[in-house]
Symmetry: C2
Subunit: 251 residues, 2 copies
């Protein structure tokens, strides 16, 4: 059998077309393909920095199959999902005559990719898959997915009076925005490759800026344009980047 | 009966505590309160520019009650929601002994607030409520609400290969991000007050920047950091503001 990652990508894409068919479009085929693209970019970066080589065939198969068994976020069996996906991946790869000596590498990368499994990634491919999957929780894609999942689960968008939780405990089950602070902004520190850490740092900045812009809007933006100053118009310095369109107000 | 808007706000808040109880947290009490805050800010702006006076009691009641009858976005009866809400508002206000001479003003603002009703706003309060409600679809709040609603309805987040729809027709039922282009970015032009237009213009910038950052991420960001240039590294000028953290790549 061929070991060309691009040919295998086509074959695997056909094998996983049902991904996301349970209605969870935050883990559909498009997610798997984005994870693959990010993983391949990280693989380039890792090799450019002198580590490697990276087995791109293992990485390709692992990216396509890492969520093949989907378990919803609020399901108690969630922590089993990556182990179940690894087992199912072995089944699929066996049926497709995937090179036998590389199947263990794929299965390990898959079972180690999620937080909740608690399995340390032992290979470079496993580290890259983990970083690439976590990247999906950051940046604009991370913003979109956070609120999408909140819509599925029925939590509120944010705490209306204190969206950034200055004076209350964080509660990510109740407020989607809190998930930025309980989990997403901790992700850059969990990245296991240097290019992953760099990319994650950039995308975390976007999350912070988004949260700040949202808080400014929620705090009751005044109408822009010239008008007499009011006592509440005082500005406090903000440690966060200012978004385009988020106005000049601070919380 | 008092006609103090602040006292009525408390009374109305108690009357509408069930808002969003059908699980739609994009139209809950917090939404109503944000619309009120925005509406009052726009009222200040309108009066500062010499229009008015604005009846803040009418505006307060209309903001609390404008979504009192909730109909899901994909329901064919959706276009009736604002008329049904206006009728229900009359019932509630009658029961609360709300000043009789102001109930028509509240009902008109409510029935005219939504696009789908096709009723032109005849009063300043109706124009302000419409602008304030539409503001919720823009800015960071608009981003959050768009993807939240997509999660409820099960549409995809965006088209994976062509998120900004350069080479395909827009399809907002299939892709949440397309809703930015079919509807949200058209909103600033529909604003009926000058302060509403100014605020909407600022918040639309944030939507555009978000869409651009997302497209950059989706297009397969390369790992950041020093590495040899590749042929695909060429940069094209972007007409959109660059977000913090969105990197230097363009699509």
């Amino acid at each position: 059998m061929t070991d060309d990652p691009t040919l295998w990508a086509q074959r695997l894409e056909e094998a996983v077309v049902g991904l996301g068919a349970n209605g969870d479009r935050s883990h559909d085929l498009a997610h798997a393909k984005r994870v693959l693209r990010t993983a391949l970019a990280l693989a380039d970066g890792v090799e450019d920095q002198g580590e490697g080589p990276v087995d791109r065939l293992v990485l390709t198969a692992a990216a396509y199959l890492h969520d093949i068994v989907a378990i919803e976020k609020n399901d108690p069996r969630r922590s089993l999902a990556s182990r179940l996906s690894a087992a199912k991946a072995r089944e699929i790869l066996g049926g497709l005559d995937f090179p036998a000596g590389r199947q263990d590498g794929v299965a390990h990368a898959i079972e180690a990719h999620s937080f909740s499994a608690g399995i340390a990634p032992r290979s470079l491919e496993a580290r890259i898959l983990q970083d690439a999957d976590r990247m999906e929780s950051l940046g604009a894609i991370g913003v979109a997915r956070t609120f999408y999942v909140a819509g599925r689960l029925g939590s509120a968008l944010f705490h209306d009076d204190d969206p950034l939780a200055f004076a209350r405990p964080l509660d990510e089950r109740a407020y989607a925005l809190d998930h930025f602070f309980t989990k997403l902004l901790t992700l850059p520190a969990t990245m296991t490759t240097a290019p992953g850490r760099a990319m994650a740092g950039e995308r975390a900045e976007l999350l912070r800026a988004f949260a700040e812009a949202l808080a400014q809007e929620v705090s009751g933006a005044a109408a822009p344009g010239p008008r007499p100053a009011r006592p509440s118009d005082g500005e406090a310095p903000s440690p966060l980047p200012v978004w385009p369109g988020s106005g000049t107000r601070t919380r």
